[in-house]
Symmetry: C2
Subunit: 231 residues, 2 copies
Amino acid sequence: MKTLPEWLQHTFGYACRDLSLFESALTHRSAGGSHNERLEFLGDAVLNCVTADVLYRQFPTAPEGELSRYRATLVSGESLAMVASELQLGDWLRLGAGELKSGGFRRKSILADTLEALFGAIYLDGGFDAAFKVIEGVFATRLPQLPSAAQLKDPKTRLQETLQARAMALPEYVVEAISGEPHAQQFRVRCEVRTLQLQAQGEGSSRRAAEQESAQRAMEQLRQLWNLNES
Amino acid sequence: MKTLPEWLQHTFGYACRDLSLFESALTHRSAGGSHNERLEFLGDAVLNCVTADVLYRQFPTAPEGELSRYRATLVSGESLAMVASELQLGDWLRLGAGELKSGGFRRKSILADTLEALFGAIYLDGGFDAAFKVIEGVFATRLPQLPSAAQLKDPKTRLQETLQARAMALPEYVVEAISGEPHAQQFRVRCEVRTLQLQAQGEGSSRRAAEQESAQRAMEQLRQLWNLNES
């Protein structure tokens, strides 16, 4: 059986200094004492920043919306839980008696949160560059698995399918403004999902492009709202 | 009239190397050419990461939910637009003909996005530590203005008021699980806003604490959904 520092070295290639940080990172609030929720807050932000950088460089011509979708796929709860399982994080988890028995989704979400907390601990313990190296290492093998933009259904289609799956009325698209010279027009479109009082704007050099962007933003809001993992 | 490098030095205390990065950061998509949307994606992540760190250290005992609320206040579109105005970012903005005339909300959101893009450019140009120093400097004066936790209304009250303001039905709270020894029980509660098909979970050592947490998470989802600035 490895010690915790040995496991961290073996799993993340990281030599930890302040062991108590990592003990907190592995402690769920149900176990009492110093738990990992604050570290999870920090680690989530570090993870988002590092993956933004990695994707920015990896896909030098991808527009912002595509980078956002890639990141959402890469760091979804589902994806983090899978990584955590592969790294056998569960063996190091400290849970309260009540949580020990819980399985399925609940356990997945605890694993994902704990992985984020570990990234937060590495950031505090070793700085941004150390966290960058660890996170890049963990996700490097997952980058090539990202679906290409062409494979992903376009946002309007996905939004429509998502709403239909819940028997909700279809979104409406309204052109709010057209600006610019005739040869270089810019469209602004509003996407509305009335039942949900949801609105999102999009822009583009064609009406279609602006609609797609507004649908993409509406999907991002829905994903937050319903905790959807699809992307 | 200052040059761009002089303004960056004067405003952010930052000596830029690759000027073209900063020119892109200041270019709205309406102006065509190399614009700032990818840099905004990156800068948004860097800003979230730096403010997470600053708040984590500044409020060593604040629970995660409080840190999230502080950050939401600090880096809201409203707050970023105000900072951007104070720094006279507008003087350096490159907009297309159509956008030049637009004012009000639209202009505010462009200013906020551009400030994020500048943080992204500094991160790429000078690394994380340089971006950290700049962002910390920009927001240092705003930290003491954060409302204390006690001043903020509790999440259940805020959720109720938010829904009532839109004439929507009140949320329901359901206890999903009680675990742990009798002297150290843990409650899990689900907050439901049926009209919106919205659900959020919360946990705590009392039913009330778990309800508050679930209401807090529901509020975070609503804020995303409706782009609410209140926090």
